[in-house]
Structures are given as structure tokens and as C-alpha cells.
């Protein structure tokens, strides 16, 4: 089954994401995912300040500068992995370089829902 690792990073992590050693750790992690044959896809996101949040209230657009959630740690990217179990996904989440400087949320994808929507 497929799991998304939602990568939440601290401001410090965002500040160092283009420099080693954080960058090198990510390269190595990506490499390990590919070599283990479990990597399905994923992408880093630009820094949270580049986000813009849109809501429609009473038919009117409310556009807000900044990311959706006002939290210390912000979504910085996601990775999708093909794994046999949640336990395996948690193992890989723990190895993620962001796990020690932020948080990694593990969520199963919802393929049933996807099929119903894409029918």
C-alpha cells in the first residue's frame, strides 16, 4: 500500500535546506528510498512565506498572504512510498532527515476514494 510522508520543517530547517549537511542528508535519504525500491514520488515545496491561502466566504474570495496553518513547523514537502505496512512506513519516517528537526506525518493514501472520484 502507499503512504504519504508529510514533511514538516522548523524555521531553522527551512533556513538550512539549501546547504549541507541538511541537503546532503536529504540526498542520501532519497537515494536510500530509491535503492530500496519503495519510492513512488514526491516533491519539496517552496518556503511557507511563498504560500497564499484562498477561501470563498459568502461567495466572496478571501485571499490571504501566507500558508494555511499558523504553526511553528510548516509543511515543507511530501514523499509517497510503496510499503507493506504502517510499521515499515514509520521506520522510514524515522530515518527522514526532517524527523529530528521537525516532524514527519505518515498517512496512508486513499486509493478507494481516488477510484470513485476518477471514475
Amino acid at each position: 500500500m502507499q503512504f504519504a510522508l508529510l514533511i514538516y520543517e522548523s524555521p531553522e530547517a527551512f533556513a538550512t535546506r539549501n546547504t549541507d549537511p541538511y541537503n546532503a542528508a536529504w540526498r542520501a535519504y532519497y537515494n536510500a528510498l530509491v535503492e530500496a525500491g519503495i519510492y513512488v514520488g514526491g516533491n519539496p515545496l517552496e518556503v511557507p512565506e511563498t504560500g497564499t491561502t484562498v477561501r470563498l466566504k459568502e461567495g466572496k474570495r478571501r485571499v490571504q498572504d501566507g500558508p494555511y496553518a499558523d504553526t511553528k513547523e510548516q509543511l515543507g514537502g511530501f514523499t509517497i512510498l510503496e510499503l507493506p505496512s504502517l510499521d515499515a512506513a514509520l521506520d522510514w519516517a524515522a530515518r527522514c532527515p526532517a524527523a529530528s528537526v521537525g516532524a514527519v506525518e505518515v498517512r496512508p493514501l486513499a486509493p478507494e476514494l481516488k477510484r470513485r472520484i476518477e471514475r
Partner: protein
């Protein structure tokens, strides 16, 4: 009662709970096989103690007080659940026993049976260690879940399922017969060592969680040794864990940096722990039955000798690994052997040993890649070494280890 003595009473309750938990759960559940109800009854008794002891003073025999109180609510609990099956005779038995075991007499120690129940082959092997931690040491599901990297709800459900299996699955509360002892004892030792390993790996600097679990594992081994003093492998396991524990302070630099064994300052190793480990190992080998844990302890003993001699006898370590591989050819053993061969005979020889390991089995095994990277680097094969370093870094969980490898790779 003033504040400080109240605090003292609370500490007493904590200590009694810690020391007596497994004994009481084991004793209460040995007839009914109902571990979950025994635990519920005991926690009710502990709550009662928290109310009564600060008011009335700590009883003469706190453990017997808890047993009597727990047994009363246990009988209520079992009756309330109306588990008609075989419980009526059990209730009678329990009532009879409450008359016999007076507050001053000791009750038989059933923890050994409980340890064997927890590691029974009918129970999912992945649950052996969590069950022991909960029923013998009284750790709560949330803490166990934390250590095993699963959600507390999941761990709670698995523990409940395992306990239901114990109650309804006909698992006997007994120490296995002589002929079936070895595999069953192995499962008990494995589970204790697994707890230690989790505690060990978790130790990122000052992380109390890892330290606690490692200490609990050592404590379990001491309990087991007290109950089975003649089993050489029990001593072997205890010696192995004590040797590792002796190096805890030396594993990190003052700045939290990871320090590999070969670069550790042996002055920081704990001599009393090393000496205790050596005593157990000597006692174990005098019994003339070697086993996996004694061999692993012997390897650690050679490393520990550096504190005295200033050097490491890699040839001896290599020989112990050769024996170990015959008993337990795991990925860990074979990787350790390769590292020892490299030190004793040179990096090419070490790489040749690594070359015998099936590549398909190491895609998630970090130590293999770390050793491989190190050996390739020593041979000056820079680009191959960098690839192996990348794999090791990508698989590292401990940030300090990741940092160390990143620096090594250069």
C-alpha cells in the same frame, strides 16, 4: 502528615510498585491466566494505596497489603465479567488462598512463568518484548508504543489481543520442561535483548527514554538470573548488556557528537559495570555451554580490555565472530565479522566478507553500508566510498550518527 513525609510515602509506593509489579501480576494471573484483569486489580490496589498509606502510614509488608487488596478487587472483577467457563473453581481457590497467605508470609514468585508465557510461541513474536515490558515491569502501553514506533492505540490493541490469547488460548503458566527449555528460553532472552537494543538505539545524547528502556532490560535480565542462576546464556546476556551500558557516557562527545567505539576514551567507561560483566561471563563459561549471548559478550569483553591494555585484539574478536556466525548467521553478525576481519587482516579481506552477503537483504540495513563505506575509503576508492556513505547516511536514524557519517564522507 507534613509535605515531605507525604512525598516519602509516594516515593515508597512508586518503589513498591516498580519492584513488586511483575511479582504481583504473575501471582494473581497464574491461576486464572487472565493477565489483563490481574493488571486492572493491581492498579486499583495502587490507587487505594495512594489514598490509604499517606493517611494510615506505610504497612509493615507493603507487597502483601497490595496483594490482599488487589486480590479482593480481582475476585470482583473476574466475577463481574462472568467468565463462567473455568472461573468458579478458580475463585474458590483464590478465596482459599487468601486465608492461607497472611499479611506477613511470602508468596511464591511466579515471574518466571509469566516471562515464559509472554514469550510463548503461540504469541506473535513481535509482541514478546512489549508484553514483558508491560506485565513484568508495569510500563504503560503509550511508553512501549513510543519505543516500538507504533501508535499508542495500536500498541494498546495488540497488547489486549495478546492477553486475550493468553487467557483463552490455553497457554500454560509453567516453566517449560527441560527438553523444551532451550527454544523457549531463547525467546525470553531475545525479547529482553530487543528491549535493550531499542533503548540503546534511541539514546541520542541525553534522551532519558532510551536510557530507561535499557535499564529496564538489564533489570529484567537480573530478575531472570535470580530465577535461573544456572543458565549460562542468561549470564551471557546480562554480561553483554552490562558491557554496552559501561560505555554509555563515552558514546557522545561533550557537544553531543557521535563517537565510534574505536575512538572512545576508555577512561570514560564504567569500571564497576565492566567488572560485573566479566564476573558473569567467567561464571557462564565455567558451565561449559557456549551460546550466542556469551559469544557476543566475549566480543565486548575484548573491546573492554582496551581500557587496561590500550589496544584491541582484533584477531580474538574475529575468532569469536566465526563461532557466532555458526550459531547465528544474522546480517548483524556477518557485518560485524567483516569489520573485525578488516581490522585483523586489512580492508580488502573485510570487503570480501561483505561481498558474500546478498545485496537484496541489505537495502534497509544501515550498518552494512557504514562498514562498506569505511573500508572503501581506507582503500582510497573515493567515489565508491561516497556512494556507500550516501546509503549509510540515508538509512541513519540517529541525527548524531548521520552527522558523523556526513563528516567522514567529506
Amino acid at each position: 502528615m507534613n509535605g515531605s513525609s507525604q512525598e516519602g510515602t509516594h516515593r515508597t509506593i512508586e518503589r513498591v510498585a516498580r519492584e513488586s509489579y511483575g511479582r504481583l501480576v504473575a501471582y494473581l494471573s497464574s491461576h486464572t491466566h487472565d493477565v489483563a484483569s490481574a493488571e486492572d486489580a493491581l492498579s486499583e490496589a495502587l490507587v487505594a494505596a495512594l489514598a490509604a498509606w499517606p493517611r494510615d502510614g506505610v504497612p509493615q509488608n507493603p507487597e502483601a497489603w497490595l496483594l490482599t487488596t488487589a486480590r479482593r478487587s480481582f475476585i470482583d472483577l473476574v466475577r463481574h465479567q462472568q467468565v463462567a467457563v473455568a472461573s468458579e473453581p478458580t475463585l474458590l481457590l483464590l478465596r482459599e488462598e487468601s486465608k492461607d497467605v497472611s499479611l506477613s508470609t511470602a508468596f511464591p514468585d511466579e515471574r518466571l512463568k509469566l516471562l515464559f508465557v509472554c514469550a510463548h510461541p503461540a504469541i506473535d513474536p513481535a509482541m514478546h518484548t512489549p508484553l514483558m515490558l508491560q506485565t513484568v515491569l508495569g510500563l504503560d502501553a503509550a511508553r512501549i508504543a513510543h519505543a516500538f514506533l507504533v501508535s499508542p492505540t495500536t500498541m494498546g490493541q495488540r497488547l489486549v489481543r495478546a492477553k486475550t490469547k493468553i487467557r483463552d488460548g490455553g497457554i500454560q503458566f509453567e516453566v517449560p520442561q527441560e527438553h523444551e527449555l532451550p527454544p523457549r528460553l531463547d525467546a525470553v532472552l531475545e525479547a529482553i535483548y530487543a528491549a535493550f537494543g531499542i533503548g540503546w538505539d534511541d539514546m541520542t545524547g541525553a534522551d532519558q527514554r532510551g536510557r530507561d528502556l535499557a535499564e529496564e532490560a538489564i533489570w529484567l535480565a537480573r530478575v531472570l538470573l535470580q530465577l535461573m542462576p544456572k543458565e549460562a546464556e542468561v549470564r551471557g546476556l546480562l554480561a553483554l548488556m552490562l558491557h554496552c551500558e559501561a560505555r554509555r557516557a563515552a558514546r557522545r562527545g561533550p557537544d553531543g557528537r557521535y563517537v565510534p567505539l574505536s575512538e572512545q576514551d576508555s577512561q570514560q567507561w564504567s569500571l564497576p559495570l565492566i567488572e560485573e560483566a566479566e564476573r558473569h561471563l567467567a561464571e557462564a563459561s565455567s558451565r561449559g555451554r557456549t551460546g550466542r549471548f556469551q559469544l557476543e559478550a566475549a566480543i565486548q569483553s575484548v573491546h573492554a580490555d582496551r581500557a587496561r591494555s590500550g589496544r584491541t585484539e582484533w584477531a580474538a574478536i574475529m575468532l569469536f565472530y566465526e563461532q557466532l556466525i555458526r550459531i547465528s548467521p544474522t546480517l548483524g553478525t556477518r557485518t560485524g565479522y567483516a569489520a573485525a576481519v578488516a581490522e585483523a587482516k586489512g580492508p580488502e579481506a573485510g570487503l570480501a566478507v561483505l561481498g558474500t552477503i546478498d545485496l537484496g537483504s541489505v537495502s534497509g540495513y544501515q550498518p552494512y553500508w557504514a562498514v562498506r563505506a569505511h573500508l572503501l575509503q581506507r582503500l582510497g576508492k573515493t567515489s565508491e566510498a561516497a556512494d556507500a556513505f550516501d546509503r549509510a547516511i540515508g538509512l541513519a536514524e540517529d541525527p548524531a550518527v548521520r552527522q558523523f557519517l556526513l563528516q567522514r564522507r567529506g
